[in-house]
């Protein structure tokens, strides 16, 4: 039993899940935004901001509460501040693209510049003001990184390490992805939101407040994406500001949105796949294939998905029809 859990494949799968969790947040957040027609290329920036703010929240809370720091409070604060960090960036983006009708691509890129700068700045600032090293106590670290499930479950063969031996954030992420799929498919607000992304003029004519939906979807989506940055810092990077590791996560999330065809449920296995591809080189070395090449695989498969969907021209697998366009009612 124990043997199987320490086998290469189980370890790889478990690591894939671990590395997939930040992507899952980044992706489902961006799906929400894109479903409303807003292609927010600022995910990278929002994840940086969220990572830094989430770490900061836990760090300063611990400093403030001292030894009596409550792990749950710390997690909640980290979630909240990471969310706020991303939501702040997405709010700027929404104001510029929805209210002021600025170009979405360019605004998203500007947000990436701004957000990575802001994240780096906060991380750097914390490091300097606290004597060169931001560290969180081991107890708190454990709350962030350890599984909420009892040991017995975690010991189960295969499913233990792959499913139960993960931080609470995996399960939050799963809950968000499933809720979002249900929201799109079953609720009226979800229907309205998709209508806004497909055809804002139609939604407008139906009395749906296009502006409000675009703002809400983008801001909440940005917040969710940003949590992914925090999860990366707190579970993979060991609660230390690590801008190197975070670099590229946001772009990978943008790729994953395409890969999973704008469907939150696909994002679940998609993020595991991408997470696996990113760390595959640690586990598997094929002769002739250099390990660095593994890391471009997520982008390569995304390109292939893009090409295949455009080749097939399947109406069900296209981006939201108004993705990237600003809406102005009297413009006709």
């Amino acid at each position: 039993m124990g043997d199987i859990n320490s086998s290469l494949w189980v370890a790889l799968l478990a690591a894939a899940v671990l590395n997939g969790v930040p992507l899952l947040f980044g992706t489902v957040g961006e799906i929400l935004s894109e479903k409303a027609g807003n292609l927010n290329l600022g995910v990278e920036g929002m994840m940086y901001t969220g990572g830094a703010m989430g770490l900061g929240a836990a760090f300063y809370y611990e400093g403030f509460a001292g030894a009596g720091a409550n792990g749950i409070v710390a997690v909640l604060l980290a979630l909240l501040f990471a969310f706020l960090g991303g939501a702040f960036g997405a709010l700027i983006y929404s104001f510029l693209t929805v209210t002021l009708r600025a170009n979405q691509n360019v605004t998203g890129l500007a947000l990436t510049i701004f957000g990575t700068g802001l994240g780096q700045f906060i991380g750097e600032y914390m490091r300097r003001t606290s004597g060169g090293y931001v560290a969180i106590g081991n107890d708190l670290k454990a709350v962030f990184a350890n599984s909420p499930f009892p040991a017995a479950l975690q010991q189960l063969p295969v499913v233990g390490p792959v499913i139960f031996r993960h931080s609470i954030f995996l399960y939050i992420g799963l809950a968000i992805a499933i809720t979002m799929a249900w929201f799109f498919r079953r609720t009226k607000a979800g229907l309205y939101l998709r209508a806004v992304g497909e055809s804002p003029a139609t939604a407008d004519a139906a009395g749906i407040n296009v502006t409000r939906y675009k703002y809400l979807a983008t801001v909440i989506g940005g917040g969710i994406s940003a949590i992914g940055g925090m999860v990366y810092i707190m579970t993979i990077a060991g609660c230390v500001w690590n801008h190197e590791g975070l670099s590229g996560e946001g772009w990978l999330a943008v790729a994953l949105v395409i890969f999973c065809l704008w469907r939150p449920l696909n994002a679940i296995w998609g993020s595991v796949l991408f997470g696996g591809l990113m760390i595959l080189y640690n586990y598997l070395s094929l002769p002739m294939v250099p390990t660095q090449i593994y890391r471009i695989l997520p982008y390569v498969v995304t390109v292939i998905v893009l090409i295949i969907t455009s080749l097939r021209n399947n109406r069900e697998k296209q981006p939201p029809a108004s993705l990237g366009n600003a809406y102005f009612r009297e413009e006709r």
Binding site: L100, F114, G115, T116, G117, Q292, V300
Partner: protein, 363 residues
Amino acid sequence: MREGNTPLVRLAKRDAMPRGQVWAIRVGSFVLAILIGALIFLLLGHSPFQGYATILDGSLGKATVFRQTVRIAVPLLGTALAIAPCFKMRFWNIGAEGQITAGAVGASWLALFCADSIPGPVLLVLMAALGALFGGLWALVPAFFKARWGTNETLFTLMMNYIMIGIVRWLQGGPWEGRPGSQIIPEFADNALLPRVFGVHCGWIIVLVLTVLMFLYMKYTKQGYEIAVVGESENTARYAGMNVAKVVMRTMFLSGALSGLVGFIVVSGADGTLHAEVAAGVGFTAITVAWLAQLNPFAMIAISFLLGVLEKGSDTLQTRMEVPASISDIITGVFLFCMLGCEFFINYRLIFRKGRKEAAIHG
């Protein structure tokens, strides 16, 4: 819901605004960005005046720092020029980052393996040509799929960036690695480095010449005319007998080639070697430069220089005022946001509610 009469503000498209007013709005947005930046300085406990003075002094104050500012602006300007024709064509090429890197790979290959056998000037010309070729071919891939099957170019070009960067990472740790285990590609030989003019590598001359050429290309050539027509309406272009697919692919090749040339300038002029971060976000920032300049090559000079000043100046902030250097990205972001937002007030007219009886309560 309907307590008011008509809403307070509504929008209408503007026909054309007088030039003076346009510039007043642009200057206004600039001032707003400066004020927000000042606020950031205040929040950090620094004097805004001192902050801005440091930025200006640190980027323009001395010949040495001025040269470094120019060095930052050169690739930005070059890449913005590269992107301009694509955007004019409404082809959202956000793959300049990868195209720069591809060009850098092409140039580096010659520099690393042929430097001994080819004399300096010829080598540099060949490096530039190969860099342009690599960048162009790399850009041609998404253009081909766009022209043939309508594959979304925004997402495709974006993905291509990371594929090329990944390839360089592999070169860096594999076939082109210098000392085994170093993960570093060796420095170029001297004859593969761009000569200096006034203390800065001569890339600045190249991009200034390109600025003029691009202006002429867009305005006075048949190809520039075709790009403009395709950008306005593909149907019209077809009606006019243009081969839209050909125009798209040719323009993307040109764009990628210019980005590739920038890659050559960076490796041969600034860095002296190839590494995965050779583009360093320039491909993305240049998009904002091109857009804010409204694709006008001469305006790009000013904007890329402004961003150069902000970046170099913020470096100085770090050393003199102990502010993390990443403040440069924050302030750059603020400037970009303000300038992006201001175009709205140029293109749209706000119509305020007229002083009706119902509305007059609050005066």
